[in-house]
Protein backbone atom coordinates (compact mmCIF):
# COMPACT_ATOMS: atom_id res chain seq x y z
CA UNK A 1 0.00 0.00 0.00
CA UNK A 2 1.68 3.21 1.11
CA UNK A 3 5.06 1.55 0.96
CA UNK A 4 4.64 0.46 -2.65
CA UNK A 5 3.47 3.87 -3.74
CA UNK A 6 6.35 5.54 -1.89
CA UNK A 7 8.82 3.15 -3.55
CA UNK A 8 7.94 4.61 -6.91
CA UNK A 9 8.74 8.16 -5.83
CA UNK A 10 11.72 9.70 -7.61
CA UNK A 11 14.37 10.50 -4.95
CA UNK A 12 15.63 13.34 -7.15
CA UNK A 13 12.24 15.02 -7.09
CA UNK A 14 11.16 14.26 -3.53
CA UNK A 15 11.66 17.15 -1.11
CA UNK A 16 13.17 15.94 2.15
CA UNK A 17 11.50 18.81 3.99
CA UNK A 18 8.05 17.98 2.64
CA UNK A 19 8.31 14.17 2.77
CA UNK A 20 6.99 12.01 5.59
CA UNK A 21 9.38 9.83 7.58
CA UNK A 22 8.21 6.75 5.64
CA UNK A 23 8.68 8.44 2.30
CA UNK A 24 12.20 9.51 3.28
CA UNK A 25 13.16 6.00 4.36
CA UNK A 26 11.68 4.30 1.30
CA UNK A 27 13.32 6.67 -1.16
CA UNK A 28 16.63 6.88 0.73
CA UNK A 29 17.55 3.19 0.69
CA UNK A 30 17.91 0.64 -2.10
CA UNK A 31 14.47 -0.17 -3.58
CA UNK A 32 12.63 -2.91 -1.71
CA UNK A 33 15.37 -3.38 0.91
CA UNK A 34 13.66 -1.80 3.93
CA UNK A 35 12.43 -4.13 6.70
CA UNK A 36 10.65 -2.35 9.53
CA UNK A 37 10.94 -3.33 13.19
CA UNK A 38 7.87 -2.78 15.40
CA UNK A 39 5.91 -1.47 12.44
CA UNK A 40 2.52 0.21 12.68
CA UNK A 41 0.60 -3.07 12.46
CA UNK A 42 1.98 -3.96 15.91
CA UNK A 43 0.43 -0.79 17.31
CA UNK A 44 3.06 -0.05 19.91
CA UNK A 45 1.43 3.21 20.91
CA UNK A 46 2.02 5.64 23.72
CA UNK A 47 0.38 4.48 26.95
CA UNK A 48 0.36 8.08 28.17
CA UNK A 49 -1.17 10.31 25.50
CA UNK A 50 -4.78 9.20 26.20
CA UNK A 51 -4.45 10.79 29.65
CA UNK A 52 -4.07 14.09 27.84
CA UNK A 53 -6.92 13.33 25.42
CA UNK A 54 -4.40 13.35 22.57
CA UNK A 55 -4.44 11.10 19.50
CA UNK A 56 -1.81 8.40 19.20
CA UNK A 57 0.20 7.10 16.26
CA UNK A 58 0.62 3.38 15.53
CA UNK A 59 4.40 3.90 15.25
CA UNK A 60 4.64 6.63 17.96
CA UNK A 61 6.21 8.94 15.41
CA UNK A 62 9.35 7.00 14.55
CA UNK A 63 10.08 4.43 11.83
CA UNK A 64 12.95 2.01 12.50
CA UNK A 65 14.40 -0.96 10.67
CA UNK A 66 17.13 -2.32 8.47
CA UNK A 67 17.91 -1.69 4.81
CA UNK A 68 20.67 -1.56 2.26
CA UNK A 69 22.07 1.69 0.99
CA UNK A 70 24.30 1.46 -2.08
CA UNK A 71 24.43 -2.28 -1.41
CA UNK A 72 25.66 -2.07 2.19
CA UNK A 73 23.52 -3.01 5.19
CA UNK A 74 22.49 -0.28 7.61
CA UNK A 75 20.07 0.19 10.48
CA UNK A 76 18.03 3.35 10.39
CA UNK A 77 15.56 5.40 12.40
CA UNK A 78 13.38 8.17 10.98
CA UNK A 79 11.42 10.59 13.13
CA UNK A 80 8.04 11.85 11.92
CA UNK A 81 7.96 15.59 12.55
CA UNK A 82 4.25 15.75 11.76
CA UNK A 83 3.30 13.66 14.79
CA UNK A 84 3.77 15.58 18.06
CA UNK A 85 6.63 17.50 16.43
CA UNK A 86 8.71 14.32 16.23
CA UNK A 87 9.22 14.56 19.98
CA UNK A 88 10.71 11.86 22.18
CA UNK A 89 8.09 9.97 24.17
CA UNK A 90 8.50 6.66 25.97
CA UNK A 91 7.81 4.31 23.04
CA UNK A 92 9.46 6.61 20.49
CA UNK A 93 12.64 6.77 22.59
CA UNK A 94 12.57 3.05 23.40
CA UNK A 95 12.50 2.23 19.69
CA UNK A 96 15.57 4.37 18.97
CA UNK A 97 17.46 3.00 21.98
CA UNK A 98 16.55 -0.58 21.02
CA UNK A 99 17.77 -0.01 17.46
CA UNK A 100 21.10 1.36 18.66
CA UNK A 101 21.58 -1.54 21.06
CA UNK A 102 20.73 -3.99 18.26
CA UNK A 103 23.53 -2.46 16.18
CA UNK A 104 26.07 -3.85 18.65
CA UNK A 105 24.82 -7.37 17.83
CA UNK A 106 24.12 -6.99 14.13
CA UNK A 107 27.19 -4.91 13.30
CA UNK A 108 25.72 -3.07 10.30
CA UNK A 109 27.98 -0.86 8.18
CA UNK A 110 26.36 2.15 9.83
CA UNK A 111 23.35 3.46 11.74
CA UNK A 112 21.46 6.36 10.15
CA UNK A 113 19.26 8.68 12.22
CA UNK A 114 16.84 10.85 10.25
CA UNK A 115 16.18 13.57 12.82
CA UNK A 116 12.94 15.54 12.75
CA UNK A 117 12.23 16.58 16.32
CA UNK A 118 11.35 19.40 18.65
CA UNK A 119 12.99 17.52 21.53
CA UNK A 120 11.27 15.95 24.53
CA UNK A 121 7.51 15.23 24.35
CA UNK A 122 6.32 17.19 27.35
CA UNK A 123 3.38 14.86 28.08
CA UNK A 124 6.01 12.13 28.65
CA UNK A 125 8.86 14.44 29.61
CA UNK A 126 10.71 12.25 32.10
CA UNK A 127 10.60 9.20 29.85
CA UNK A 128 11.71 11.27 26.85
CA UNK A 129 14.56 12.92 28.70
CA UNK A 130 15.85 9.61 30.05
CA UNK A 131 15.57 7.97 26.62
CA UNK A 132 17.70 10.76 25.15
CA UNK A 133 20.39 10.04 27.73
CA UNK A 134 20.14 6.31 26.95
CA UNK A 135 20.40 7.00 23.21
CA UNK A 136 23.54 9.08 23.70
CA UNK A 137 25.18 6.33 25.75
CA UNK A 138 24.18 3.77 23.13
CA UNK A 139 25.56 5.90 20.28
CA UNK A 140 28.89 6.15 22.07
CA UNK A 141 28.92 2.36 22.48
CA UNK A 142 28.09 1.85 18.80
CA UNK A 143 30.74 4.31 17.65
CA UNK A 144 33.34 2.76 19.95
CA UNK A 145 32.55 -0.59 18.31
CA UNK A 146 33.63 0.95 14.99
CA UNK A 147 30.14 1.49 13.58
CA UNK A 148 29.51 5.02 12.27
CA UNK A 149 26.32 6.79 13.38
CA UNK A 150 25.30 9.35 10.78
CA UNK A 151 22.57 11.94 11.34
CA UNK A 152 20.50 13.44 8.51
CA UNK A 153 18.77 16.74 9.33
CA UNK A 154 16.40 18.60 7.06
CA UNK A 155 12.86 18.09 8.33
CA UNK A 156 10.07 20.45 9.28
CA UNK A 157 10.57 20.12 13.01
CA UNK A 158 14.35 20.64 12.78
CA UNK A 159 16.56 19.07 15.43
CA UNK A 160 15.93 20.78 18.75
CA UNK A 161 16.36 20.19 22.46
CA UNK A 162 17.70 16.76 23.33
CA UNK A 163 17.64 15.96 19.61
CA UNK A 164 20.41 18.52 19.20
CA UNK A 165 22.46 16.76 21.89
CA UNK A 166 21.97 13.38 20.24
CA UNK A 167 23.04 14.93 16.92
CA UNK A 168 26.17 16.24 18.62
CA UNK A 169 26.98 12.68 19.66
CA UNK A 170 26.88 11.29 16.10
CA UNK A 171 29.97 10.51 14.00
CA UNK A 172 28.82 12.69 11.11
CA UNK A 173 25.90 14.99 10.23
CA UNK A 174 24.40 15.95 6.88
CA UNK A 175 22.11 18.97 6.85
CA UNK A 176 20.04 20.90 4.34
CA UNK A 177 19.18 24.56 4.39
CA UNK A 178 15.93 23.83 6.21
CA UNK A 179 17.60 21.66 8.83
CA UNK A 180 17.92 23.66 12.02
CA UNK A 181 20.09 22.37 14.87
CA UNK A 182 19.79 23.97 18.28
CA UNK A 183 19.17 23.19 21.95
CA UNK A 184 16.81 25.99 22.95
CA UNK A 185 14.37 26.78 20.16
CA UNK A 186 13.57 30.36 19.15
CA UNK A 187 10.22 30.35 20.97
CA UNK A 188 11.80 28.93 24.13
CA UNK A 189 14.48 31.63 24.19
CA UNK A 190 11.91 34.35 23.51
CA UNK A 191 9.53 33.04 26.19
CA UNK A 192 12.29 32.89 28.81
CA UNK A 193 14.47 35.84 27.86
CA UNK A 194 12.29 38.17 25.84
CA UNK A 195 11.95 39.21 22.19
CA UNK A 196 14.98 41.54 22.54
CA UNK A 197 17.13 38.43 23.06
CA UNK A 198 15.52 36.40 20.28
CA UNK A 199 12.59 37.45 18.09
CA UNK A 200 11.18 34.06 17.12
CA UNK A 201 9.00 35.64 14.41
CA UNK A 202 12.13 36.82 12.57
CA UNK A 203 12.47 33.73 10.39
CA UNK A 204 15.60 35.01 8.64
CA UNK A 205 17.25 35.30 12.05
CA UNK A 206 16.22 31.75 12.93
CA UNK A 207 17.64 30.33 9.69
CA UNK A 208 20.98 32.09 9.88
CA UNK A 209 21.47 31.39 13.61
CA UNK A 210 20.46 27.71 13.65
CA UNK A 211 20.06 26.71 10.01
CA UNK A 212 21.99 24.27 7.88
CA UNK A 213 24.25 26.75 6.15
CA UNK A 214 25.54 28.25 9.39
CA UNK A 215 26.10 24.83 10.93
CA UNK A 216 27.94 23.64 7.83
CA UNK A 217 30.20 26.71 7.62
CA UNK A 218 31.19 26.48 11.28
CA UNK A 219 31.82 22.72 11.29
CA UNK A 220 28.65 21.79 13.16
CA UNK A 221 27.69 19.58 10.21
CA UNK A 222 29.87 17.67 7.75
CA UNK A 223 27.85 17.83 4.54
CA UNK A 224 25.35 20.23 3.02
CA UNK A 225 22.54 18.82 0.88
CA UNK A 226 20.04 20.22 -1.54
CA UNK A 227 16.52 19.54 -0.26
CA UNK A 228 16.06 16.19 -2.04
CA UNK A 229 16.16 12.63 -0.80
CA UNK A 230 18.74 11.84 -3.50
CA UNK A 231 21.10 14.50 -2.11
CA UNK A 232 20.78 13.09 1.42
CA UNK A 233 21.41 9.58 0.09
CA UNK A 234 24.59 10.70 -1.64
CA UNK A 235 25.76 12.51 1.50
CA UNK A 236 24.98 9.55 3.76
CA UNK A 237 26.97 7.13 1.60
CA UNK A 238 29.95 9.50 1.51
CA UNK A 239 29.88 10.27 5.25
CA UNK A 240 29.74 6.60 6.25
CA UNK A 241 33.07 6.13 4.54
CA UNK A 242 34.80 8.94 6.39
CA UNK A 243 33.45 8.68 9.92
CA UNK A 244 35.91 9.48 12.72
CA UNK A 245 36.62 7.05 15.54
CA UNK A 246 35.33 7.63 19.06
CA UNK A 247 38.38 7.95 21.31
CA UNK A 248 40.38 10.30 23.54
CA UNK A 249 42.28 11.79 20.60
CA UNK A 250 39.02 12.64 18.85
CA UNK A 251 37.54 14.30 21.92
CA UNK A 252 40.76 16.23 22.59
CA UNK A 253 40.55 17.48 19.03
CA UNK A 254 36.91 18.45 19.56
CA UNK A 255 37.81 20.24 22.79
CA UNK A 256 40.40 22.28 20.87
CA UNK A 257 38.00 22.91 17.99
CA UNK A 258 35.22 24.17 20.27
CA UNK A 259 37.64 26.32 22.31
CA UNK A 260 38.96 27.87 19.09
CA UNK A 261 35.41 28.67 18.00
CA UNK A 262 34.75 30.67 21.18
CA UNK A 263 38.10 32.45 20.88
CA UNK A 264 37.46 33.41 17.26
CA UNK A 265 33.73 34.14 17.24
CA UNK A 266 32.76 34.60 20.89
CA UNK A 267 32.08 38.31 20.47
CA UNK A 268 29.94 37.96 17.33
CA UNK A 269 26.33 39.01 17.65
CA UNK A 270 25.07 37.70 14.32
CA UNK A 271 25.91 34.81 12.02
CA UNK A 272 26.87 37.24 9.25
CA UNK A 273 29.76 38.44 11.46
CA UNK A 274 30.88 34.84 11.91
CA UNK A 275 30.75 34.23 8.17
CA UNK A 276 32.74 37.41 7.45
CA UNK A 277 35.47 36.27 9.83
CA UNK A 278 35.47 32.89 8.11
CA UNK A 279 36.49 34.73 4.95
CA UNK A 280 33.14 34.86 3.20
CA UNK A 281 33.33 38.01 1.05
CA UNK A 282 29.69 39.03 1.00
CA UNK A 283 28.04 37.32 3.99
CA UNK A 284 24.64 38.89 3.34
CA UNK A 285 24.33 36.81 0.16
CA UNK A 286 24.83 33.43 1.89
CA UNK A 287 21.15 32.75 2.75
CA UNK A 288 20.14 33.24 -0.88
CA UNK A 289 22.89 31.12 -2.41
CA UNK A 290 22.08 27.94 -4.31
CA UNK A 291 23.74 24.68 -3.29
CA UNK A 292 26.56 24.86 -5.85
CA UNK A 293 27.52 28.43 -4.97
CA UNK A 294 27.36 27.62 -1.27
CA UNK A 295 29.53 24.50 -1.70
CA UNK A 296 32.15 26.66 -3.42
CA UNK A 297 32.22 28.93 -0.35
CA UNK A 298 32.42 25.96 2.05
CA UNK A 299 35.41 24.56 0.15
CA UNK A 300 37.40 27.67 1.10
CA UNK A 301 36.49 27.62 4.81
CA UNK A 302 38.96 25.75 7.00
CA UNK A 303 36.55 25.21 9.92
CA UNK A 304 34.00 23.28 7.88
CA UNK A 305 35.78 19.94 7.54
CA UNK A 306 37.35 18.06 10.45
CA UNK A 307 37.41 14.75 12.32
CA UNK A 308 36.94 16.33 15.76
CA UNK A 309 33.72 14.71 16.90
Amino acid sequence: MAGDRAASIDPDALSWYEATARQRVTALVDPGSFREFLGPTERRMSPHLPLFDLPRAFDDGIVIGRADIAGTPVLLAAQEGRFMGGAFGEVHGGKLVGLLRAALDLKPRAVLILFDTGGVRLQEANAGETAIAEAMRAIVDVRAAGIPVVGLIGGRAGCYGGGGLIAGTCSRLAVSEGGRISVSGPEVIETNKGAEEFDSRDRALVWRTMGGKHRRLTGGADAFCADTVAAFRQAAVALIDRAPAFDLAGLEAEQARLAARIARFGDCRDATEVWARLGVNDPATVPGMDTAAFEAIVARVGEADHDAR
Partner: protein, 238 residues
Protein backbone atom coordinates in the same frame (compact mmCIF):
# COMPACT_ATOMS: atom_id res chain seq x y z
CA UNK B 1 22.46 19.68 51.50
CA UNK B 2 24.73 22.40 50.13
CA UNK B 3 27.84 21.70 48.07
CA UNK B 4 29.97 22.84 51.03
CA UNK B 5 28.27 20.28 53.28
CA UNK B 6 28.70 17.57 50.65
CA UNK B 7 32.40 18.34 50.22
CA UNK B 8 32.89 18.41 54.00
CA UNK B 9 31.15 15.06 54.29
CA UNK B 10 33.13 13.52 51.46
CA UNK B 11 36.49 14.98 52.42
CA UNK B 12 36.74 15.51 56.20
CA UNK B 13 40.52 15.89 55.84
CA UNK B 14 40.33 18.54 53.15
CA UNK B 15 40.18 18.65 49.38
CA UNK B 16 41.20 20.55 46.27
CA UNK B 17 37.76 21.22 44.83
CA UNK B 18 37.05 24.78 43.73
CA UNK B 19 33.87 26.55 42.64
CA UNK B 20 34.20 29.38 40.14
CA UNK B 21 31.30 31.01 38.30
CA UNK B 22 29.10 28.14 39.40
CA UNK B 23 31.47 25.52 37.92
CA UNK B 24 32.91 22.84 40.17
CA UNK B 25 36.28 21.21 39.43
CA UNK B 26 38.98 19.49 41.45
CA UNK B 27 39.64 16.34 43.42
CA UNK B 28 40.01 14.97 46.90
CA UNK B 29 41.22 11.88 48.73
CA UNK B 30 38.93 8.88 48.44
CA UNK B 31 39.64 5.38 49.71
CA UNK B 32 43.21 4.49 48.79
CA UNK B 33 43.28 7.03 45.97
CA UNK B 34 41.40 10.12 44.86
CA UNK B 35 38.07 11.06 43.39
CA UNK B 36 37.64 13.77 40.75
CA UNK B 37 34.76 16.19 41.21
CA UNK B 38 33.15 18.23 38.44
CA UNK B 39 29.77 19.89 38.41
CA UNK B 40 27.53 22.91 38.46
CA UNK B 41 26.53 24.72 41.66
CA UNK B 42 24.12 27.45 42.69
CA UNK B 43 21.40 26.79 40.11
CA UNK B 44 23.74 28.17 37.43
CA UNK B 45 22.78 27.75 33.75
CA UNK B 46 25.20 25.72 31.64
CA UNK B 47 26.45 27.51 28.56
CA UNK B 48 29.22 26.96 26.04
CA UNK B 49 32.10 28.16 28.25
CA UNK B 50 30.93 26.19 31.28
CA UNK B 51 30.49 22.99 29.32
CA UNK B 52 34.00 23.36 27.91
CA UNK B 53 35.52 23.98 31.36
CA UNK B 54 33.92 20.79 32.69
CA UNK B 55 34.83 18.68 29.65
CA UNK B 56 38.45 19.89 29.98
CA UNK B 57 38.52 18.64 33.58
CA UNK B 58 37.00 15.28 32.59
CA UNK B 59 39.43 14.78 29.69
CA UNK B 60 42.34 15.69 31.99
CA UNK B 61 41.20 12.94 34.34
CA UNK B 62 41.06 10.45 31.47
CA UNK B 63 44.51 11.51 30.27
CA UNK B 64 45.94 11.03 33.75
CA UNK B 65 45.12 7.37 33.35
CA UNK B 66 44.45 6.85 37.05
CA UNK B 67 40.95 5.37 36.51
CA UNK B 68 39.89 7.30 39.62
CA UNK B 69 36.13 7.77 40.05
CA UNK B 70 34.54 10.97 38.76
CA UNK B 71 31.72 12.54 40.80
CA UNK B 72 29.42 14.86 38.84
CA UNK B 73 27.72 17.08 41.43
CA UNK B 74 24.78 19.04 40.08
CA UNK B 75 22.61 21.93 41.24
CA UNK B 76 22.06 23.71 37.95
CA UNK B 77 19.52 25.62 35.94
CA UNK B 78 18.73 24.36 32.43
CA UNK B 79 21.07 25.06 29.52
CA UNK B 80 21.83 28.76 29.16
CA UNK B 81 19.13 30.14 26.91
CA UNK B 82 20.63 32.78 24.66
CA UNK B 83 21.03 33.73 21.05
CA UNK B 84 24.84 33.71 21.43
CA UNK B 85 25.03 30.19 22.88
CA UNK B 86 22.92 28.82 20.03
CA UNK B 87 24.79 30.87 17.40
CA UNK B 88 28.03 29.22 18.54
CA UNK B 89 26.55 25.70 18.60
CA UNK B 90 25.53 24.92 22.19
CA UNK B 91 24.38 21.45 21.13
CA UNK B 92 27.97 20.57 20.23
CA UNK B 93 29.33 21.84 23.56
CA UNK B 94 26.78 19.99 25.69
CA UNK B 95 27.16 16.80 23.64
CA UNK B 96 30.94 17.10 23.94
CA UNK B 97 30.69 17.21 27.75
CA UNK B 98 28.41 14.17 27.77
CA UNK B 99 30.78 12.33 25.40
CA UNK B 100 33.74 13.15 27.67
CA UNK B 101 31.91 11.61 30.64
CA UNK B 102 30.88 8.57 28.58
CA UNK B 103 34.47 8.16 27.35
CA UNK B 104 35.72 8.34 30.96
CA UNK B 105 33.25 5.62 31.92
CA UNK B 106 34.41 3.44 29.02
CA UNK B 107 38.02 4.11 30.00
CA UNK B 108 37.53 2.61 33.46
CA UNK B 109 36.62 5.66 35.55
CA UNK B 110 33.49 4.95 37.56
CA UNK B 111 31.22 7.96 36.92
CA UNK B 112 28.70 8.88 39.60
CA UNK B 113 26.19 11.68 39.30
CA UNK B 114 25.02 13.41 42.47
CA UNK B 115 22.07 15.75 42.14
CA UNK B 116 21.60 17.81 45.28
CA UNK B 117 19.57 20.72 43.90
CA UNK B 118 17.86 21.58 40.67
CA UNK B 119 18.73 20.56 37.16
CA UNK B 120 16.79 20.60 33.92
CA UNK B 121 16.73 19.91 30.22
CA UNK B 122 20.02 20.07 28.31
CA UNK B 123 22.14 20.77 31.38
CA UNK B 124 20.76 17.67 33.08
CA UNK B 125 21.41 15.46 30.02
CA UNK B 126 24.98 16.74 29.58
CA UNK B 127 25.99 16.22 33.22
CA UNK B 128 24.15 13.99 35.70
CA UNK B 129 22.41 11.86 33.05
CA UNK B 130 25.73 11.13 31.32
CA UNK B 131 27.05 9.20 34.33
CA UNK B 132 26.77 5.45 34.93
CA UNK B 133 25.02 5.76 38.28
CA UNK B 134 22.96 8.79 39.27
CA UNK B 135 22.32 9.35 42.97
CA UNK B 136 20.25 12.10 44.54
CA UNK B 137 20.03 13.73 47.92
CA UNK B 138 16.61 14.35 49.45
CA UNK B 139 15.33 17.75 48.40
CA UNK B 140 16.86 17.53 44.94
CA UNK B 141 14.57 18.80 42.22
CA UNK B 142 15.36 17.52 38.73
CA UNK B 143 12.87 18.37 36.03
CA UNK B 144 12.41 18.68 32.32
CA UNK B 145 10.05 21.62 32.56
CA UNK B 146 8.05 23.18 35.39
CA UNK B 147 4.30 22.58 35.42
CA UNK B 148 3.24 26.17 34.55
CA UNK B 149 5.38 25.93 31.41
CA UNK B 150 3.97 22.49 30.62
CA UNK B 151 0.49 23.99 31.00
CA UNK B 152 1.37 26.75 28.54
CA UNK B 153 2.72 24.34 25.91
CA UNK B 154 0.08 21.62 26.28
CA UNK B 155 -2.74 24.15 26.70
CA UNK B 156 -4.07 22.18 29.66
CA UNK B 157 -5.22 23.90 32.86
CA UNK B 158 -2.54 23.97 35.54
CA UNK B 159 -4.98 22.53 38.10
CA UNK B 160 -5.61 19.52 35.91
CA UNK B 161 -1.86 18.97 35.42
CA UNK B 162 -1.25 19.25 39.17
CA UNK B 163 -3.95 16.66 39.71
CA UNK B 164 -2.54 14.34 37.04
CA UNK B 165 1.00 14.76 38.42
CA UNK B 166 0.02 13.00 41.63
CA UNK B 167 -0.73 9.76 39.78
CA UNK B 168 1.37 9.98 36.59
CA UNK B 169 5.14 10.11 37.17
CA UNK B 170 6.00 10.13 33.46
CA UNK B 171 5.59 13.87 32.91
CA UNK B 172 5.67 15.63 36.27
CA UNK B 173 8.76 17.38 37.63
CA UNK B 174 10.47 16.30 40.81
CA UNK B 175 12.82 13.78 42.33
CA UNK B 176 10.28 11.02 43.02
CA UNK B 177 9.23 10.98 39.38
CA UNK B 178 12.81 10.82 38.10
CA UNK B 179 13.43 7.93 40.49
CA UNK B 180 10.33 6.15 39.16
CA UNK B 181 11.50 6.70 35.58
CA UNK B 182 14.83 5.03 36.40
CA UNK B 183 16.87 8.14 35.58
CA UNK B 184 17.88 8.46 39.24
CA UNK B 185 19.15 5.14 40.53
CA UNK B 186 19.09 5.81 44.25
CA UNK B 187 18.37 8.45 46.89
CA UNK B 188 21.14 8.70 49.46
CA UNK B 189 20.68 9.02 53.21
CA UNK B 190 22.09 12.37 54.34
CA UNK B 191 22.27 11.04 57.89
CA UNK B 192 24.90 8.48 56.96
CA UNK B 193 28.50 9.15 55.89
CA UNK B 194 28.70 9.98 52.17
CA UNK B 195 32.02 8.26 51.36
CA UNK B 196 30.61 4.86 52.30
CA UNK B 197 27.45 5.39 50.25
CA UNK B 198 29.40 6.61 47.19
CA UNK B 199 31.85 3.73 47.62
CA UNK B 200 28.97 1.24 47.70
CA UNK B 201 27.58 2.69 44.47
CA UNK B 202 30.95 2.26 42.79
CA UNK B 203 31.30 -1.30 44.08
CA UNK B 204 27.79 -2.18 42.90
CA UNK B 205 28.04 -0.74 39.39
CA UNK B 206 26.57 -2.96 36.69
CA UNK B 207 27.55 -3.18 33.05
CA UNK B 208 25.15 -1.82 30.45
CA UNK B 209 22.44 0.76 30.89
CA UNK B 210 19.97 -0.37 33.57
CA UNK B 211 17.75 2.72 33.56
CA UNK B 212 14.92 1.29 31.47
CA UNK B 213 14.82 -1.83 33.64
CA UNK B 214 14.60 0.36 36.76
CA UNK B 215 11.84 2.41 35.15
CA UNK B 216 9.87 -0.74 34.43
CA UNK B 217 10.32 -2.16 37.94
CA UNK B 218 9.36 1.13 39.56
CA UNK B 219 6.43 1.76 37.24
CA UNK B 220 7.47 5.22 36.07
CA UNK B 221 8.40 4.06 32.58
CA UNK B 222 6.24 0.99 32.07
CA UNK B 223 7.00 0.03 28.45
CA UNK B 224 10.40 1.44 27.34
CA UNK B 225 12.44 -1.63 28.28
CA UNK B 226 10.04 -4.04 26.60
CA UNK B 227 9.95 -1.89 23.46
CA UNK B 228 13.76 -1.78 23.22
CA UNK B 229 13.95 -5.53 23.83
CA UNK B 230 11.32 -6.24 21.15
CA UNK B 231 13.33 -4.18 18.66
CA UNK B 232 16.43 -6.21 19.43
CA UNK B 233 14.49 -9.46 19.00
CA UNK B 234 13.06 -8.46 15.64
CA UNK B 235 16.44 -7.18 14.48
CA UNK B 236 18.03 -10.55 15.28
CA UNK B 237 15.35 -12.44 13.38
CA UNK B 238 15.88 -10.17 10.41
Amino acid sequence: MTLAEILLGLFPDGHAVAVRDGLVTGSGPFGDGRIHVVGVDGDAPLGIEGALTLSRAVLDAVRAGDVAPILVAVDSDSQRMSRRDELLGLNEYLAHLAKALLLADRSGHPTIGLIYGHSAAGAFIATALATRVLAALPGANPSVMDLPSVARVTKLPLEKLQDMATSTPVFAPGLDNMVATGAVHVVLDPGKPLPGQIGALIAGMQPGDVRDRLGEERGGRPVARAVAAAVADQARLG
